[in-house]
Assembly symmetry: C2
DNA sequence: CCCAAATATTCGCTTGTCGATATATATCAA
DNA sequence: TTGATATATATCGACAAGCGAATATTTGGG
């Protein structure tokens, strides 16, 4: 990640991408269908934003059968981790992030047990 | 500042705006001509981005004669301050922020003595 | 091989952002 | 009032971001 700071901020500047990252920061690893259900939008919409986060080096993906699990890249530069953590601390309980976490918890037929960070 | 996090990040997602904020975070208070000289671009360009930062509630301005001094709003929510501080700690010595600070220090005929935070 | 499910990609369109240029406003001094 | 300086705003065209819808790809099962 040799991302410039304004490039990171631009990535976080989209609400869908930020909601994905906050969910991943809180839950550790999630597949696309879980993110789609939690955020409540169309699957291609989520998929495209996840691809951007992957291209920027912010997340990693892993295939397991039909599902592709995304997680926040563990070896991010410390300033990036700090910013994600600050945002989560400041807003994890606020709208719309708390609702996202709640919808995820209520999701039926999740492909795997929730795995926390 | 009831700014949503993704709105803050969108503001920081433009290099010109981020450079302005980093200069203000380091120097305390600067007028438009100082920011223009340090960043090395056209004055309307700087002015417009400062207006956006003002409308978002990130900076305050103060007129003194012909000059208008901008400063980072002192009562920002703590998560905003944290993010600005993290960014400054991680990148204040890097390109292009270090060069900006250097150009500012070398600027002739500054309208006032530098006032540090 | 064929189907279904999960995910990714493409297309067309709308909207917004950015930068450059030109112009307007404000302040001060003569 | 005139002029000079500092700053703000308006306008324009180019360009990128974003979205919905449709389609393609991958995988596993029968």
């Amino acid at each position: 990640m040799d991302t410039k700071p304004h490039q990171l901020f631009a990535a976080l500047g989209n609400e869908t991408r930020l909601r994905c990252l906050m969910l991943l920061a809180a839950q550790g690893e999630l597949c696309v269908c879980e993110l789609t259900h939690a955020i409540g939008t169309a699957q291609p919409h989520i998929s495209r934003h996840l691809a951007q986060l992957r291209e920027l080096g912010l997340v990693l993906d892993r295939r397991e059968g039909l599902w592709i699990y995304y997680r926040i890249r563990p070896d991010l530069p410390s300033w990036v981790s700090s910013i994600l953590r600050e945002t989560q601390n400041g807003f994890g309980e606020a709208h719309p992030f708390a609702e996202d976490a709640h919808r995820l918890a209520m999701m039926p037929n999740r492909p795997s047990a929730p795995r926390c960070a």
